[in-house]
Amino acid sequence: MNHDPSGSVLVVGGGIAGMQAALDLADSGYRVHLVERTAAIGGAMAQLDKTFPTNDCAM
């Protein structure tokens, strides 16, 4: 372990998991680089119509 670690974190993937990880880190004092392969974040969840068990809109 480096004695003088960097306060930044790289998150690979802008789906629901990547976004949540990035938000938690940014909200607790770390700088986050979020890298997404496609032209927009959102991932697979954005493609879903509704989610169970509440049938909420996935958007």
Binding site: P5, V9, V12, S28, E36, T38, A40, F52
Partner: protein, 939 residues
């Protein structure tokens, strides 16, 4: 960074150098206003990957309507200019000159302390597997395609039609386990864990997408795996609503008459061959690691497991094989949304833990200009009417609304925007505020519940107090719900704008109160979840008080031999307890309970009772990890015969007297004992895998032993499916039973027998049992006291209820409270450990700051208060007390409100007969002004 990929990672934990390649977008993000002209003019149509290839988009595109960032991009693989050197139509028509064909690939290097990989999954591709008919039968679609057919932003705008003739399908079949649990055809032996539930969801919502009339849904399955929280009820509701569940695997699919629909052939459980016609067949395709998993693993320097997912341990579920690299989401193993969101927080927690020393060194705080003082100024109102693309403009005549707004009192400026929420409109609003001296802003757009913070931020950036903005919700509560009546919708929108303007004129600058955050956590429960949460927070630098009601740490883990990955629990548990006990920032209190608690997030004040003595504690957040226990079965001769044991009792026996197991000739496991019954309608999630593990252990000790598992649905989800396959390979016999024909246990002389009807033979089997092991339901401990103290909630089964089942799976509905482990829902140890990390991550978001801002919407006392104190008793938060103040020389009674406790509900304001107490932002005057404006009286 979009359109970007990691190409190289060097360095080590704490100090990685990561090279990122960013592909050209050919559109300047700063200039693009997402007007869509480029896509409109683009002549090149491309299969739309967002709609799973159904429907088209252009080569100039946004991935989907609500994309973030909402900026167009040009697809270089299809753009006519970029492939053939001619066209540039988009460039010509772009009103802001955002199209830039000179854009080039960029390479950036960043220095980071840790990396989190969340690349997601791909769905199994059934193309070319004739057994599924995909590609050869037109009305066979994958579940992802079906999802897009249902979606309101899908290729047919949510109107469900089948591919062959665009007719509404009336009879639909789902085929489960396509690309999962199959070792013959496609090499995905694991269970994808999500398909059963999404198929049920699709079957249920299908009815809503058809224009009335009959619909028939049939799900062909192997086992229904509804092992998540509230999932079993959802499954039951589907059965009640008429969805057919058929335990069979169609062996062939052929096109229906005239190439429409499909014919399924299958064999029922009792051996009858059936041919059945369906209008549409949906293949429930499983999840696989992304196509580039190997490349990504090589770049990151981590190992994959045999299923191509990232290799992790059950004791540190998000740590990849290279220190400092964490994996989460479906790349770690196939999982559903709540689990992905949970484990995303776990990964964040692990990264934060590793870099705790550097916290705050690189974070950037946003700064705002000095707020302009608008006191004494007359209202100068700017109104911005949003078209929301076509969402509002299709129904409401936005131009007419904008024109009308100009006639309203105090209104100095009006604009209509395509997307008022876009970044460029934010800049425009800020500019107009400064140019025209606007001091109140009205946004007629969507709902303040999602977008008010954005506009408040814009006002702050323009030097205005954020509470001077008011929204008129002309989308969610107008355009979207009155689509048939343009005229009346437009009238209503005008009224809504008039109401908002009337209120805005009375808006006053409000200020948020700062309170100190007590940077200490209370963790209730000293099991594996509680200990992990405590350690994760303590490692990040926050002091933790860990409270356990029994006399030792460890909880249920003491009774387990291995986790689901086969790793021994005891050494892990002993090391964990040692670390907790020795950690300088963790105070462990066994035989201790929480007696009372007051306060709210950031500032809780509690009384602990430790061995009869009371002790005060202050804390900013609490993690509830109170656990669960194995229930005591009330059937199958439990308690009447010493050979009838629960799982935990049997594990204890195996550990203490392994020779006993070796000597037995037969053992029978009965699943779902007390679970999935009318009085306890949930699945205990852990028992199927537990039985399989125990059965395998017996077979290992004595391969000659006859081992039977009597089950209803085997729910060895995810990689656990491999254990189930191994068990069958070793000759363990699995016999299914139904709730209407439960096994019967009896004693015949000294011997114990289990009788069960074999569903394939259709005959009762009488099995001798040297041991009968019952998969007893997991039940939560009684948490009524905690619920009462914290005002949080539990579901009907007694498990704590999260703030949102998908998006906030470890937050409770009370701010500052988080949940981990079995008290949330039964789960295996790796998931409890992950959830503990997630709870710690969410808790650290609160603890990271030494002060926090309270909402400004709070009650305040006016000079009209005469101390009658009617409001004191109605306040649900005990935020009001009566005080005596010296006024003009004599003592006067007045109420005093505590903004830290006040939630702004306004019960006091509605109770007060004389306007002596009001709520900021919702004063009687403001509400009255809205009423009058609604009734047509301009104020």
């Amino acid at each position: 960074m979009t359109l970007s990929e990691v190409t190289h990672v060097s360095g080590s934990l704490g100090n990685f150098q990561v090279t990122i390649r960013q592909k050209p977008r050919y559109v300047d993000m700063e200039k693009c206003i997402a007007c869509g002209l480029c896509a409109e003019k683009c002549p090149k149509k491309v299969d739309d990957p967002f709609n799973a290839g159904m429907g088209k988009r252009k080569a100039a595109y946004i991935p989907y309507g609500q994309a973030v960032p909402l900026k167009y991009a040009i697809d270089p693989e299809h753009c006519i200019y970029l492939t053939r050197g001619k066209c540039r139509a988009c460039e010509k028509f772009c009103p802001t000159g955002a199209v830039n064909f000179e854009d080039e690939e960029r390479t950036v290097t960043v220095n980071v302390g840790a990396v989190i990989a969340a690349p997601g999954f791909r769905t199994f591709d059934p193309q070319g597997l004739d057994v599924y008919g995909y590609g050869s039968v037109r009305d066979v679609v994958t579940s992802l395609e079906y999802e897009r057919l249902l979606a309101s932003n899908g290729p047919h705008m949510g109107h469900l039609i089948r591919p062959s003739d665009h007719e509404e399908p009336r009879k639909i079949a789902w085929i489960q386990c396509v690309g999962s649990r199959n070792i013959n055809r496609c090499d995905n032996p694991y269970c994808s864990g999500v398909c059963c539930m999404y198929a049920i969801k699709q079957a249920l919502v299908t009815a809503e997408h058809l224009n009335g009339g009959e619909v028939e849904q049939a799900v062909f399955y192997m086992d229904v795996r509804s092992h998540g929280k509230e999932f079993e009820r959802y499954y039951e509701s589907a059965k009640e609503k008429g969805v057919r569940f058929i335990q069979a695997r169609p062996h062939s699919i052929s096109p229906g008459e005239k190439g429409k629909g499909a014919v399924l052939e299958y064999v029922t459980r009792d051996g009858r061959p059936v041919r059945e016609d369906f209008d549409l067949v949906v293949l429930s395709v499983g999840l696989e690691a992304p196509g580039n998993a190997e490349d990504l693993a090589r770049t990151l320097g981590i190992d994959l497991n045999e299923s191509r997912f990232a290799r992790t341990s059950g004791f540190s579920p998000v740590a990849a094989t290279r220190p400092g690299i964490f994996v989460t989401g479906a790349f770690q193993s196939p999982k559903d949304i709540p689990q992905s969101v949970t484990e995303a927080s776990t990964a964040a927690c692990e990264a934060a833990r590793a870099l705790a020393a550097a916290r705050g060194t690189q974070a950037r705080e946003k700064t705002y200009p000095q707020e302009r003082d608008v006191c004494g100024e007359k209202p100068v109102i700017g109104v911005f009417v949003c078209s929301c693309g076509i969402n509002i403009a299709n129904t409401v005549d936005v131009q007419a609304v904008a024109d009308y707004a100009r006639t309203l009192p105090h209104v100095a400026h009006v604009e209509n925007n395509l997307f008022t929420c876009s970044a460029d409109t934010q800049n425009l609003i800020a500019r107009k505020i400064q140019e025209l001296g606007l001091n109140r802003i009205v946004i007629a757009a969507c709902t303040p519940r999602t977008h008010e913070p954005l506009f408040q931020d814009t006002l702050r950036e323009a030097g205005l107090n954020p509470y001077l903005v008011e929204m008129a919700n002309i989308r969610n509560q107008n355009a979207w719900v009155h689509q048939q009546d343009r005229e009346k919708a437009t009238e209503k929108a005008k009224d809504q704008v008039r109401m908002a303007v009337a209120k805005a004129a009375l808006n006053e600058p409000l200020h948020r109160l700062k309170v100190n955050v007590i940077q200490r956590a209370l963790v209730i429960g000293g099991g594996v979840a509680g200990m992990n949460a405590a350690l994760a927070l303590a490692d990040q630098g926050y002091p933790v008080t860990l409270v356990e009601k029994s006399d030792r740490l460890g909880g249920n883990a003491w009774k387990l031999i291995t986790n689901d990955a086969g790793e021994p629990v005891e050494p892990y548990l002993e090391a964990l307890i040692r670390r907790v006990n020795e950690h300088p920032r963790i105070g462990v209190h066994t035989r201790t309970t929480l007696r009372s608690v007051t306060g709210s997030v950031g500032n809780f004040h509690g009384i602990l009772e430790e061995g009869g003595a009371e002790k005060e504690i202050r804390f900013g957040v609490a993690v509830l990890a109170t656990g669960a226990r194995e229930s005591e079965p009330a059937e199958y001769l439990y308690g009447q015969d010493p050979r009838v044991l629960t799982h935990q009792q049997f594990d204890t026996l195996l550990r203490e007297r392994p020779e006993a197991a070796g000597q037995a000739r037969s053992a029978v496991f009965i699943q779902c004992v007390g679970s999935r019954e009318p009085e306890r309608p949930y699945c205990s999630r852990v028992c199927c895998t537990h039985s399989v593990k125990a059965a395998l252990r017996l077979k290992e000790a004595n391969p000659e032993m006859d081992v039977y598992v009597l089950y209803r649905d085997m729910r060895t989800y995810g990689e656990r499916e491999r254990l189930y396959q191994e068990a069958r390979r070793r000759g363990i016999l699995f016999i299914q039973y139904g709730l209407d024909a439960k096994p019967h246990v009896e004693k015949d002389g000294a011997d114990l027998f289990v009788t069960v009807t074999d569903p394939i033979l259709g005959r009762p089997l009488k099995i001798p049992a040297d041991y009968l092991v019952l998969a007893a339901a997991m039940v939560p401990h009684d948490t009524a006291d905690l619920v009462e103290m914290f005002k949080c909630g539990t579901n009907a089964d007694g498990f704590f209820t999260e703030a949102h089942p998908k998006l906030r799976p470890v937050d409770l509905s009370v701010d500052g409270l988080f949940v981990a482990g079995l008290c949330h829902y039964p789960k295996p140890m790796d998931e409890s450990i992950a959830q503990a990390g997630a709870a710690a991550s969410r808790a650290a978001v609160v603890l990271a700051r030494d002060e926090m801002l309270l909402d400004a919407v709070k009650s305040f006392v006016t000079e009209k208060c005469d101390g009658c104190a009617l409001c004191v008793d109605v306040c649900p938060y005990q935020a009001i007390r009566l005080d005596t103040v010296e006024e003009t020389g004599r003592p006067t009674r007045r109420i005093v409100t505590d903004p830290a406790l006040c939630k702004g509900c306004g019960l006091c304001a509605a109770t007060c007969p004389k306007g002596g107490v009001m709520v900021h932002g919702f004063t009687l005057n403001q509400l009255e002004a809205q009423v009058e404006a609604a009734l047509g009286k301009a104020v």
